[in-house]
């Protein structure tokens, strides 16, 4: 699914050359659930952005579904972000003026889905996230956990193969965090590849594989016994 070879990223900060990623190599197979850990500045978010086709590496290669991302044109990358990848952010990143279903609708608009089908699919996906009765609420009117579930619905609505989550539980209390992780585990069981960045050991324990970063390098990469959660989403 994802092959990374000697990927590096460095940028100029004043007079200093800062290396965010130093020749990282990595493979992630379909159906995996990977937690990427490390202190801030260790390069985990940079890697995430590159996998998500949001950032350009300064060296190395990155293959997503056999396609080399760096060789794609801007438009093709946008399409990839739209259809192959679902993004979940720490701060939810919902558009505040739009209702829950309108937020979920957005990726489908860019994918060219017809209006009727959009409403239908947005409803279905939100129901799957246990938000059936709240599709007309604006983000302000929802709790943090609910907002994050809207964001997950938005990430899933175009049926991507890869879900990228950057500190998805960073702004949530422990109860909501467990809820969100249960959702991820459930999606992973249904075949979705999940990659999430976190610095909480507890959250990482819900993954099947943990990769640790330090100073732009991988320091450990091990399969772990997944701590299972039962899906207990309250509407």
């Amino acid at each position: 699914m994802l092959i990374i070879k000697n990927l590096s990223k460095s940028y100029q900060m004043g007079e200093q050359q800062v290396t965010a990623l130093a020749a990282v190599s990595l493979q992630i197979a379909r159906g995996e659930m990977v937690a990427i850990m490390g202190p801030s500045g260790s390069g985990k978010s940079t890697l995430m952005n590159m996998i998500g086709c949001l950032d350009q590496p300064t060296g190395g290669r990155l293959f997503l579904n056999q396609a080399e991302v760096n060789q794609l044109r801007e438009k093709e990358k946008a399409q990839l972000r739209n259809r192959e990848i679902g993004f979940v952010f720490q701060s939810f990143n919902l558009l505040p003026r739009l209702t829950a279903w309108q937020n979920v609708e957005l990726p489908m608009i860019y994918a060219g889905v017809k209006p009727k089908e959009r409403l239908q699919r947005a409803k279905e996906t939100l129901e799957l996230m246990g938000l059936g009765p709240r599709i007309d609420h604006r983000p302000k009117e929802l709790s943090g956990g609910q907002q994050q579930r809207v964001a997950i619905a938005r990430a899933l609505v175009n049926r991507p193969n890869l879900l990228l989550a950057d500190e998805p539980t960073g702004n949530l209390d422990s109860h909501s965090s467990r809820e969100i992780m249960a959702v991820f585990q459930d999606l992973n069981q249904k075949g979705l590849t999940v990659v999430l960045v976190t610095h909480e050991e507890e959250i990482a324990a819900y993954a099947k594989r943990v990769i640790r970063f330090l100073d732009g390098r991988i320091v450990s990469d091990q399969k772990i016994q997944q701590k299972a959660l039962t899906k207990e989403v309250e509407p």
Binding site: L54, D55, K75, Q79, R81, N93, P107, I109, Y110, A111
Partner: protein, 398 residues
């Protein structure tokens, strides 16, 4: 993604920011409305002037006294224009339909207790035909009145109204200075013109005016009606030659062509219209800059939104399109409202101030198109700025 989807999205964004959208449009609304009102005023002034020139009569040449003998300017003297000149003109060309010599001076007229100052015009029987006057009541004076130097008068509609307060003045007495005359007719109303009120005058036989009232043999001017429009230039030339032969001095007279007068006046009012439109266009431009300003603020304000949209699959074109469409829709809506407002104001100005306004299609279409172009032009830069944002930077933006 289809264009229609982007249009819907842009419309939704504008609707979500109603106050800001309205304020942004205001500049364009005022600009477009100003252009339309200003041009309509300019066109109205032009129409009023050309109408009043045409109302003077058609195919007209006017022979005036020149400034002959007077050094360094001063008033034209009517000395050289005497009754003899009428003969000269009559014989001067074969394409003359009618000649209307005129002697006019301002004098006090009186009926009963009311008196007012008006133009006393001594003229011949051809005057109404040449200068487009109709008789509303009574009769015009006859050749017999003219040759008998009779004390008769035909009064303008304004005089009839002011002196006789609407009663039928025919048969009543009118005093010009100390001379008593009999009113035999009233002219039909002609309305205000740019050369004074055409209804504020008293016509009396030329002979009466010259011999009895003013004691002179001179004329103020002579209107010459040419039989065919094509012959205007020829007659103009022939008259100038004849008059030069008679008076021996080309500075003593002037032959003015009504068509020339018309084109001079049209030229001046055209400049006037352009000037007004130019001033208004500047305000339209300022409105456009307002759009750019607001769109730039809007881009900065929505950096995070742009980042989110990019992360979930919006391409550069889609972001570019979204912001460009918002700018175009603002100026389009502003343009439409401006056109409606401009037409309304032009009508209101016409009905309340008495100024004539003429709405012309080109001014409406042009100012509307201009407003749309302005939206496009000033929308491009902010839209490019939005589309070119780095998604990661944009997502980090607080």
């Amino acid at each position: 993604m289809k264009l229609s989807e982007n249009i819907l999205m842009a419309a939704k964004n504008l609707k979500n920011n109603k106050v800001r959208s309205l304020l942004t449009m205001l500049g364009v609304i005022i600009g477009v409305a100003a252009v339309i009102v200003m041009v309509s005023l300019g066109e109205g002034a032009k129409k009023q002037i050309t109408d009043s020139i045409s109302a003077m009569g058609s195919n007209l040449l006017i022979v005036n006294a020149g400034r002959g003998g007077m050094r360094g300017g001063g008033h034209a003297t009517s000395e050289p224009l005497t009754n003899k000149i009428i003969e000269v003109i009559t014989k001067g060309s074969s394409h003359i339909e009618r000649i209307a010599p005129r002697l006019q001076k301002s004098k006090l007229v009186k009926y009963g207790e009311i008196s007012l100052r008006t133009r006393i015009v001594g003229c011949t029987t051809s005057f109404p035909a040449v200068r487009n006057y109709q008789i509303a009541q009574g009769d015009f004076f006859s050749e017999a009145d003219l040759s008998g130097r009779r004390r008769v008068a035909v009064i303008g509609a304004y005089i009839a109204e002011e002196l006789y307060s609407g009663a039928n003045p025919v048969g009543l007495e009118l005093k010009i200075g100390k001379m008593r005359l009999k009113v035999i007719g009233v002219l039909a109303e002609k309305g205000q013109s740019n050369f004074g009120n055409s209804d504020d005058l008293v016509l009396i036989p030329l002979t009466t005016a010259q011999r009895r009232l003013f004691g002179t043999t001179t004329l103020s001017d002579i209107s010459v009606q040419v039989s065919r429009a094509e012959a205007m230039e020829q007659v103009n030339r022939e008259l100038e030659e004849a008059l030069l032969a008679e008076l021996q001095d080309e500075t003593k007279f002037r032959v003015r062509n009504q068509a020339e007068l018309l084109s001079t006046v049209e030229g001046t009012t055209q400049t006037f219209t352009f000037l007004l439109a130019g001033i208004a266009a500047v305000s339209l431009l300022v409105g456009g800059i307002g759009i750019m300003n607001i769109m730039l603020v809007s881009v900065t304000e929505r950096i995070r939104e742009i980042g989110i949209r990019k992360a979930i699959g919006a391409g550069q074109e889609e972001i570019l399109g979204l912001f460009l469409l918002e700018a175009i829709m603002l100026s389009l809506a502003g343009g439409i409202i401006g056109v409606i407002l401009g037409c309304l104001v032009a009508k209101l100005v016409a009905s309340f101030s008495g100024l004539m306004t003429v709405l012309t299609m080109p001014s409406i279409v042009l100012s509307f198109l201009f407003s749309v172009m302005i939206g496009l032009f000033f929308g491009v830069y902010p839209a490019y700025k939005a589309a070119g944002l780095d998604p990661i930077e944009a997502l980090r933006h607080e």
